[in-house]
Chain length 441, copies 4
């Protein structure tokens, strides 16, 4: 990270999210002098890469910055001497996500892309590709940090840290920042003044306390949240209100994703309806993306179009750019990240990945000690962690038994026989992206 500026590489550069990310980099240029931005994609994504890449170039040009935007299908060339690498890939594209969602629902089970059967299959397809990227980095840019946007971000990060030689990896997610902003709005204070003590796993972390100016405001927040008008959600999750008495009893802030576990029946009913109408989330997103790419093509567009906000990844760019800048500038601010536990949560193994507050230094993020998980949330977090560990094992080894076991452990899959049926159909459907599995028999 010398004076010649930063080389930043984005794998999956053709993603519809890229303009937001580019906007974030441009805004932070003073503190984060990115001189080379490499957008990398695969052959199948070349067209999108060109569309998005050209938009990125127009945005940089408009900002009048000395930043080169490279578009390439040659990952190795891009990674050479990189300082930071981000990933935002989707193995099998949205077509795969559609299958992840539709096949489980057909059998009466939720299959969201980071939860249930969908989460398992996204992990099975994604982990081998990320492992390759990590090994390339270890060879071509061993000091670079890998900022992993790619879902399921917790499992992917853990797989890389445990099974690759490249240990400088952080998993990022926009759920904590969204929760923080919503809470700040509820409390009517600037978001900078709010600190939430997060504890858990990716898409499974709770706000166990909230501080404003160093004083706990948890009781106030619980009161506000117990009012159905004030509840948290995000674009990609149905905004079903929480039972107020439950929020009071929990005395913590659930994440929007927790609806999958505390409102399973209602979500399932809703998803079954969407399934019948051909409007699962993946199908909706596909349509949205098509529209976005139409917009991106416009040669006069040189800013992030406002329509991107509907896409669901709000603040992803902030999360990633803030993380990169804090490492680069040794800021020591607190961010909520997916890192190796190392004892931060006493109730979970030290070598597993958790989502917790970290202080971000030039040596990377260091998790802040949380202590034991309160019992009210320990059970569910342990169950998802058991699922994750089994799913990672399945992704690394290609074991049919581990994949089946992961499904049966998952709290959204409540039937061992249906688990097998769903597994068999999904394996068949995603065959092309699962080289680690043996399909010969």
């Amino acid at each position: 990270m010398d004076t010649k500026g930063i080389k930043l590489v984005t794998i999956g550069g053709g993603s519809s999210y890229t303009p937001e990310f580019v906007e974030g980099i441009i805004k932070r240029y003073d503190e984060l002098p990115v001189r080379e931005l490499w957008l990398v994609d695969i052959e199948a994504g070349k067209e999108k890469l060109d569309i998005v890449g050209n938009l990125a170039r127009r945005m940089v040009k408009k900002a009048n910055l000395p930043m080169d935007v490279h578009l390439t299908l040659d990952r190795e060339a891009a990674l050479q001497n990189a300082d930071f690498v981000t990933t935002q890939i989707r193995v099998g594209l949205l077509e795969s996500r559609i299958k992840d969602e539709r096949i489980p629902i057909k059998h009466g089970m939720i299959g969201q892309e980071t939860n249930g059967a969908g989460g398992l299959f996204k992990a099975l397809r994604t982990i081998p590709v990320l492992m390759d990227i990590a090994e390339d980095m270890q060879r071509l840019c061993p000091n670079a940090w890998l900022i992993n946007f790619t879902n399921p971000a917790g499992m992917v990060t853990e797989a890389i840290i445990k099974h690759s030689n490249h240990k400088k990896v952080v998993g990022v997610c926009n759920v904590p920042i969204n929760m923080k902003i919503t809470i700040a709005n509820l409390l009517n204070v600037p978001v900078e003044k709010v600190q939430i003590k997060f504890a858990g796993l990716n898409h499974m972390s709770y706000g166990i306390d909230v501080f404003v100016d160093g004083k706990s405001k948890l009781t106030k927040v619980i009161e506000l949240l117990a009012n159905p008008e004030n509840q948290l959600s995000m674009n990609n999750i149905a905004p079903i209100p929480w039972e107020g008495e439950f929020i009071k009893a929990l005395h913590m802030i659930p994440s929007p994703y927790h609806r999958y576990y505390y409102k399973t029946g209602e979500i399932l009913t809703k998803e079954q309806k969407e399934f019948e109408q051909g409007k699962t989330r993946a199908e909706v997103v596909k349509e949205l993306e098509n529209k976005l790419f139409e917009l991106y093509k416009d040669p006069n567009l040189n800013i992030k179009p406002p329509q991107l906000a509907e896409r669901g990844g709000a603040y992803y760019s902030n999360v990633a750019c803030d993380l990169i800048s804090s490492i680069y500038n040794n800021k020591g601010d607190i961010q909520t990240l997916n890192v190796v536990n190392n004892g931060a949560i006493s109730s979970l193994p030290n070598d597993t990945v958790v989502e917790v507050n970290c202080t971000v230094t030039n040596n990377g993020p260091i998790p802040l000690a949380v202590g034991r998980l309160p019992f009210s949330i320990n059970g569910l977090i342990q169950q998802i962690k058991s699922f994750e560990l089994t799913a990672i094992e399945a992704a690394i080894t290609g074991s049919y038994e581990k994949a089946l076991l992961a499904l049966c452990i998952n709290p959204l899959i409540t039937d061992d026989e249906k688990a097998k049926v769903i597994l068999d159909e999904l394996l068949e459907a995603h065959k092309a992206y699962l080289p680690q599995f043996n399909f010969s028999s």
Copy 2:
């Protein structure tokens, strides 16, 4: 426990199970010289106590033993200087169990008496009564062991140990012995030669290894169990076969009760049907019990009638009598019991109650070290333990919030709004047996 023989007290002596227990005592008289057997019940159970007590007297007479059978409603008199006390009570009788089962099912949730909402309410009703018994024992027979048959046996035992002054309590259950007998039959070896390494919680423990003559036979057992013809069940649980591939993937022996968690949908469907027909398990048991008491009345009957076997508590008597005899005789044999963890399962708190193998000495049972739980079962066990801890807190404090939280944590209750509805209905239904709750508002 001097030469004048043992004073044994059974609280809930009017239970239909008593003849089996009496048979067990009679059979072991040579090693376990019970001179006084006190059957205690409450006013509402007086009639049953007389019926069962008279049968017990006829059984003792037939065996020609110097054992006095006392029938009484005066618990204090019975407990005075007792050596062993067993409990087999049902607070609110079968009428309460019927409500425990029917109310949740009405709202689409399983409510079995030790699982789901039923388990919570049985705990809420039972724990205060058992606490009283424990405190009486501390005053009247502080050296006596309390052998707790009463379900939910794990939670009740934990509540007494944590919250009463009487620490000499062991929870017993007939599931492990049933599993052992079934496995012995499958392997075609005498049950005495089989040792199963159990780990977990009451109605939630897995056989993580099986030994015959000191050699592991787990792989053989898994193969046998994966065959749908060879599967374990018990009278009170639907014998739905396991998915063979799941059993192979799990590579452990699930308990019959695990069906509630790995076959939730199927069980629910079945229970909904029984609900509609007025044939929930509680209703069936009630009918069975009526028939049993008709039989017990027969003044010529002086043995345990074979029809009792259908009732579901097979081997309960063996479990309790063997435990009492091993303590009395310092046998040092291995039994599967509900005791304070004390580190036996590293993954659970030291001060919580677990169901594990113990060596039984004249100083009580000492748990054998298990180590960490395998991840494949850790999640579910942690979740049930979180439920248990929250439920115990609700039972001790009468907190509405803790009761609601316990339901929402329970994996069989998957909706926070329905949890509240079920809670409110069950609280209302069981009002008379929940003195710790505040119904004034």
Copy 3:
């Protein structure tokens, strides 16, 4: 902490260290607007309080700041609505320290004021007084932070947190900052660029890694330290060089205090010589202090005199002022502090006090996760923690047996019979300051 400025209270205000502390506050006035500085002492310290207090007033006057310096013997008045409270007291004055050091040495054991028998007795005398201060704070200024300078800082902090109602306490020590400065000098880099990963207990923490600009320099530092010319020490500890091969084998940075444990014989020999010459550390300090107070009396002196540097508490002021400022300004920088473990060091209980890196926020310091202690240091740290826990129990309860046990656990006391002799003599010598012990018999 409103706009009217900060009210800061220093208990033991008559300490010779105060001018350094006042200097630190003056230097930071822009970021830390202390409007009221209350120096509190007891009757026996009135003369010193006046001398030091007047010097403080001259220093403030010279700096031309709107800061009132109050001198008082009325602790309650001082604490009323305070924002921050620091303590730097010495119960029994240096006379007591002299006994702490001389009595053990007479019997052939090291008795340094935070190690061995001296450490135990300083804890026994100090903890009850600090408990009173904490309870006063809870009543008079419940939101104020107590910054505890008073040794043994780790034990005192733990006693307050465990046994008082005032939980906002942080223990501070100048050893970590001294180590950091020495390492920075060795590496020839500015101290701001150096980050040491500390883990352990007060006067017992090791630097387990060193980072400069985010890159580990541990191997380099070890090489430098293995050279006897480059070794760390402090004014109050004999600068005996480490065996270079040992430093390489340890592959960590020991603290200067670790000499007591890895060079016990040599230190003992040296202290025995000082004992014979009447020049134990306490005796030397007493002489130094007398000289300092002579200087302080000079009405023309209006700065901290350079001679104070010889006293041994170098950088104490920096440590305390930086901590106060970081809390006040929510800085989020990393400081090495004595706080509740809360899982930061997995090998120690969650509720015990440890010395580790913390990020300092307006909600106080939050410890950074360290993980398990390396085995090479785990044993000694555990032993000192066992000593601390037993010593705290003795200090709170006044139990003779716990006090004896604490001595026998301490690695510097290697004989159970001599432990008793030393204990009896020290109890007698410090009788007046040990109200919790029963001397009637």
Copy 4:
């Protein structure tokens, strides 16, 4: 272990202890039908093997049993299809032990054969040989149990379990049984009625409770032990009385070996005197052994001579024979053994070897859960465990640094410079038996 009887192999068969072991086997023939006893030794021990072996044959003949006694230098032949293997070897013979003891004392440090520098060097010499034996067993008799008598028994057992492929190993020691017998005598009850709850490490375990007929007698025992006339010791440890007040404060039963840690100065003084007189324990033992072998040569001797009792290994034979018989007969009795912790002591890692009570089954010993160590003993036990782990690493890798670190961690070595001097001298002295170390430089 079929009907043809047991094949038992003793490596180090020429040991002076062998007659006691043979006596134990003869006495238990009814329950433990040993048909083949193989005494194995190395070339250097051939003469002793013949002497001892012929005595063993005379003993068997006198007992008139169908047991063949084989004497051999061919270890592989002996191990073929063995059922049980015991080891009682001394690598480097008593000459090495003399060096282990004399070299440290020369530099003012205790060097007993399982403590301090002597313990380290016995481990360094012994572990590689035992590793070879374990690997031979894995090849030639994979189902056989290795009963390891060889000191330091805890470290040797842990090294084999962690670093060899043969996991069926148990470390045995006669200290617990000696403590039990002494306590039984003190209490004046038969030893069979006494149960001591042991917790710790080999030569470092404490009796944390004592039961007679299932009732705790700890307070009574503490009172008795606090009386200097009633104290525990063994032949090889100086019977210096404990300070009674210390025993009361500890409220546990220390082992005779704990004198090394709680009476370091006194023991050192005594050993320095023996050193000067050429009467270190090793030198005394050597003389004793010479006398014993003279006795053993007597062709009329056909029993264990009573003089063997002075040798120090009292009850070793009982311990080993009882263990073998309990495994063979699936007895389920409680024995105190060195086995993998597996969570039995929550304060120590699960994969380390501890000395605790076990129930002995035909699947080997299973440790009983102890829970957390009381703080009063946790520190010292952790320190010795840290030493053991570092020493094992040194023994396996031949690392000079790890060996030095092990010495510096050991509480009996209190000086880093002397540690290096002692290390260098001992390495040189034992060169021939340390193939894993590099002496080229």
